[in-house]
């Protein structure tokens, strides 16, 4: 089962390696990880996407809680929440596909953030399904490379998980 885990940590050097070491030391995989400051500059939030059965996820959340620099751990599975990810896709379409690429970008509410004679760089934001759908659609027209930010997630206010 895939889980998105949000971890509030002290914003200090070395914290990232404590968190990543916790995963690598136990053979758990991190699918994506994003880190950034919060409203309190002394606190960072890490959004970690990982997979495992219930026992593994329980161990991961407990081990995270045990780290001295971790302030709070939230498994987003337990909450109604909003998830977003951004991807930058560099496409090199043939001349005849260019209009279609722009069309799809429009449909996905993406933006062209750079262009060259042969390529467009497209920014798409959304949940995982949207990003994967976009990549699938554009792939036949020639993706040179893409870069994903990894997920960020935030709980919805005043909504209880059904």
């Amino acid at each position: 089962m895939r889980h998105t885990i949000s971890v509030l940590v002290e914003n200090k050097f070395g914290v990232l390696s404590r968190v990543s070491g916790l995963f690598s030391g136990r053979g758990y995989n991190i699918e994506s990880l994003s880190v950034g400051e919060t409203i309190d500059p002394q606190v960072s939030v890490m959004t970690i996407v990982t997979t495992g059965d219930d026992q593994i996820i329980e161990q991961i959340t407990k081990q995270l809680n045990k780290l001295i620099d971790v302030i709070k751990v939230t498994d987003m599975k337990e909450l109604e929440h909003v998830e977003r990810e951004m991807v930058l896709v560099k496409v090199a379409p043939k001349q005849e596909d260019k209009a279609e690429v722009l069309n799809i970008t429009e449909i996905f509410r993406g933006r062209i953030v750079d262009s060259s004679q042969k390529t467009y760089t497209i920014e798409i934001t959304g949940d995982e399904k949207k990003i994967e759908a976009f990549i699938e659609l554009v792939k036949p027209m020639g993706i040179k490379e893409f870069v994903r930010t990894g997920k960020v997630a935030i709980a919805r206010e005043g909504v209880k998980k059904k």
């Binding site: 940590v9 002290e10 050097f13 070395g14 390696s17 404590r18 070491g21 030391g25 026992q55 329980e58 161990q59 407990k62 081990q63 809680n65 045990k66 001295i68 620099d69 971790v70 302030i71």
Partner: protein
Amino acid sequence: MKISGAEIIIESLKREGAKHVFGYPGGVVLNIFDSLYDNKDVQLILTRHEQGAIHAADGYARATGKAGVALVTSGPGATNTVTGIATASMDSIPLVVLSGQVPTMLIGNDAFQEADIVGITRPCTKYNYLVKDVNDLSRIIKEAFHIATTGRPGPVLIDLPKDVTVAKAEFTWPELDMRSYKPTYEGNKWMITQAAHTIAKAKKPVIIAGGGVILSGASKELRELAEHAEIPVTMTLMGLGGFPGTHALSLGMLGMHGTYYANKAVQESDLLIAIGMRFDDRVTGKVEAFAPHAKIVHIDIDPTSIRKNIRVDVPIVGDVKRVLTVLNKVLKEEVKEQWDEVRKAWLKQIEDWKAERPLTYTWSDEVIKPQFVVEKIYELTRGDAIITTEVGQNQMWAAQFYKYDKPRTWLSSGGLGTMGYGFPAAIGAQLAFPNKLVIDIAGDGSIQMNIQELATAVINKLPVKVAILNNRYLGMVRQWQELFYNERYSYSHLDVVPDFVELARAYSAVGLRATKPSEVEPVLKEAFKIHKPVFMDFVVNWKEKVYPMVPAGAPIDHMLFEEPEKKPEKKLKAVK
């Protein structure tokens, strides 16, 4: 008035009540050693190797319950402590390790004697620090002691760049404010009540007591629980001494080399009350076959220990002492069960198991049996000694044939299984308790791993006794090779063992030797009278094996026993 970082360290140690520091000097800590030179409050014990220092600090911590402190230089000084830090980490022993570091502006430059010790020790410390500003120093030291000694204890390392310990600052001793570190001490009352009712219903309960009982000082509460509800108690290797080994309800140690009756009782039980232990593989054997009929109540201060290896029916996160205090109260005031009748059949069954296969060995008139040496040590000390061990056969015999009645009298590397631990640990314990008899039960292999510390014992007048069970082999390795590798003794024979008697003399210590069973007692008696470090070389039967034994990965009631020596063609039999 501003003082140097080095002086801040010493003042902080003084405030933490750390009178003894085990250490070894070197380039980047010279200034700290200089400040220690004429200091009256903090005494440095110079070891002969940094590994000796860290194990000595560990032995000191285990014997006293206070944090052990070590001070070493950067690079090799720091990396030499890693085994000892990992040893303490596995066994939840509070240590504060102060390591020198190259000056801040040289960090990352591959400077002389530079090692990224914070990176290296991250997985084997409870927490570690690189101090970058002298103004943070006292707070960090205070935090380090706090983290090391509270919650589930463990080692904390503080890396000290030279420029930080040279720089000056006003000394402050701030109140601690750690929003992200708050161990859970109080167990959930509802869960404890559940546990009490589960205990009330159980017909065949067993308590498994681990090192957490000793760390939290809960021996009294454990005894109260066992006696009130008439529950037999088995102990993990780390739990020895947490419950009196001579008590009628004691089953001794369980697991790979546990007693027949402990393993049988666990496997047959309908309720396990696991207290301050973590279901190590040496305890459970094959996990799927472990205690198949039992409900499990698990009390531990570390939530990650619960449901890590074993399913748990009633999890209780909290300090063992506090949880047991509440549990005992609930049992007495709310449950009010009387167990005398209910327990009769179960306790009778256990007595039968005890009679069926007690811990035993075959006596010999010609050759010294190592178990006999341990038995004699117990008899002559009447259990009033601090025993440390190395790792291997010596450790298992010391666990089986000596009865530990009090906590903190058994110091042994359980989790990591570190050879070379026992002798420096004995030195640390002896320093803490100068008038106690401290005995390292060692093997001829293990003792050679930190034998250089004999100089530390001699110079500091620490009359540690070392009983070397000398079989000229790495005995446990040899045992496995005999049992599971067709007697192919690949690199386990120590062809050349030093003359331990002469070696002791060379260090101005005392060396004694026994080669016959009749010499064992006189040698021990003489050694115990001498107020100096003594090496006792017991030349023991090299073929002796530790039994019972559960082969790795088997269920714990699949035990091997020693067969009578008349049938040499088929020596072993698995008994279920």
